[in-house]
Symmetry: C2
Subunit: 188 residues, 2 copies
DNA sequence: TGCGCCATGTAACGCGTTACATGATTTC
DNA sequence: GAAATCATGTAACGCGTTACATGGCGCA
């Protein structure tokens, strides 16, 4: 059982999903390709942690709708409770570039930061949209421990905070490249 | 040339290092084992991007002190300028747990968050210490584009901000697990 | 006496990526 | 007419991890 297995179980604990859907949803916090997910789902099914139902569709390919089993929930709970989490792993090529940013001309540095800012803004909007959708739910509200979305809400809050923080950092760093005076763009 | 190659070149652009030292320093922003780094350094040397000098030591094993070459700097600059950075990759098992936190008893959730908080505080202190060291430099100051440490300073600032942000997020989330009334610990 | 630090390497293995394969429907 | 979306799989490859190998010095 690799970590990705538990990521899949987590998603299925919220609601039944197809492998295709899991691949998309996982992107937010655990990037993996479908070529890795499909075989893993088959393995989880053999182990009895998930089951699937074949759903015939018209106009779209048929799909397998996976659900978590009681054994799956128990396995997941045990992992969450007892397994010490591995150190976080991060691979961000932008940070490599930052480390050697002093080698570049100021205008190149500014360009890289501004491009980063743009990408961050796009992601921020998407995350804020999804959080808003969750917050509109009322019964029960997402801030409630009992909500199906509770964990997902916490995670998205974390995501959006990190993105906002990075935008602030970019805005803090940009004036240090004084190639020319130029006003900062607005965050919203 | 994989991303790690450029990470190594970045480090060597700041100052000559041994493979052993690179392995340690890289942990902050690009985790890799020495078993991957040593062969890569040999490859970079064959390509002419780095050179090394054998340093005999007493009481410690000899070491190879690697330095970046002009060709290495040029290669690095070109990569920073022209290569679009790959999407950031993050693998944090704690986030998986958060997603399914609603399956756990509130006291277990609280325990997980408090343990996380402790680990974050430790890292925060280490990062703040290193930043302080850099800020004590005066000639030129690290906030100066011309400083050898400039890029490293930007990176550490980013790191420390992310950690502070996560602590704030933990403190925001903790009261949502109302298993019992308990005051928040102080950040400092 | 044993563990951790310094220091560099090689070997085996497997997780994870990229590429191959298929095909209907919707959108530009 | 081309490209994207939905949907599931397999095959090849290689990056990255874990483990093996060596050895002196300092510390508890």
């Amino acid at each position: 059982m690799i970590a990705l297995s538990y990521a899949l179980l987590c998603m299925l604990a919220r609601k039944p999903c197809s492998g295709y859907e899991l691949t998309k949803l996982l992107q937010v916090f655990w990037q993996a390709q479908h070529s890795q997910i499909y075989p893993l789902l088959a393995k989880l099914e053999k182990a009895g942690y998930v089951t699937f139902e074949l759903i015939g569709q018209t106009g779209k390919p048929d799909k397998k709708l996976y659900s978590i089993t009681d054994a799956g929930v128990a396995e997941l709970q045990q992992w969450i409770r007892d397994q010490p989490a591995a150190e976080k792993l991060e691979r961000d090529e932008f940070l490599i570039k930052i480390y050697a940013i002093g080698l570049m001309e100021p205008q190149t540095s500014r360009r890289l930061f501004l491009e980063r800012r743009e990408a961050l803004l796009t992601r921020l909007r998407r995350l804020e949209g999804e959080i808003k959708l969750m917050e509109e739910e009322q019964d029960p509200p997402v801030t409630d421990y009992a909500s199906r979305q509770f964990g997902r809400y916490l995670l998205y809050q974390r995501r959006v905070r990190v993105v906002r923080e990075e935008i602030d950092w970019v805005d803090w760093a940009l004036p240090l490249f004084k190639s020319s005076a130029s006003a900062l763009p607005e965050r919203n």
